[in-house]
């Protein structure tokens, strides 16, 4: 009842535009988004390796799998990580296709990934603790 009442009232009051049921604070997701952010920051554009890219993609996959496995209440987290996932995927695909990436492209891609991972972290870490 303690959880259900604010949850129900939030969905009721927030109307159609916010029909997704809110997820609450989750320590595992909080740790995972920081790991993603750190992995992006550690990307060395002068010497990109498969290991560096894999660290980012694996952590995003972990976050998605955990959120999906946590049930319907984590749908908002799956939607939240999707744009960052696409940004990282196109980077990983280019690296695999071309065998390397130019440092200028990598530097700008890193800025985009940092902007997105910081925003994801803010939202994930700012959630309400039950």
């Amino acid at each position: 009842m303690k959880i259900f009442t604010p949850l129900f009232l939030t969905v009721f009051l927030s109307g159609c535009s916010l029909m997704v049921v809110p997820s609450f604070w989750d320590a595992n997701q909080a740790e995972s988004v920081i790991n993603i952010q750190v992995a992006v920051e550690q990307l060395d554009c002068e010497n990109v390796t498969y290991k560096q890219i894999d660290k980012i993609t694996s952590e995003i996959t972990w976050f998605q799998t955990y959120s999906e496995s946590s049930g319907w209440r984590h749908q908002d987290m799956i939607e939240l990580i999707e744009p960052l996932d696409e940004t990282v995927d196109s980077f990983a695909e280019r690296y695999h296709r071309e065998g390397t990436v130019n440092s200028v492209y990598c530097g700008l891609k890193k800025k985009n990934m940092m902007l997105q991972s910081q925003r994801v972290s803010e939202a994930v870490l700012g959630r309400f603790k039950l």
Binding site: L9, T10, L13, F24, D76, V104, E122
Partner: protein, 80 residues
């Protein structure tokens, strides 16, 4: 007003999030003009920025919902 002028106006604004993105967009354009980015890389990097806006909207929704839950919980605590 040219696209670059528009970006400069945003860079000089007090909205930090818009300023950050405009700076990245300008840097992407400058590197493309210098020939340091291929057409495909240029397009991909700008598409990332468009996706950042979608992410922002989703993050705002998460924060708004969280704020609502927090406020309602606060109201409920008044009677318990």
């Amino acid at each position: 007003m040219s696209v670059m002028d528009q970006l400069d106006t945003i860079i000089n604004s007090d909205k930090w999030w818009a300023k950050q993105r405009a700076e990245v967009a300008k840097a992407i354009h400058q590197q493309y003009r210098k020939g340091n980015l291929t057409d495909s890389e240029y397009k991909e990097l700008l598409e990332d920025l468009i996706r950042t806006d979608q992410l922002d909207k989703d993050a705002d929704d998460v924060e708004l919902r969280s704020g609502l839950v927090s406020s309602i919980n606060g109201l409920l605590s008044l009677i318990s």
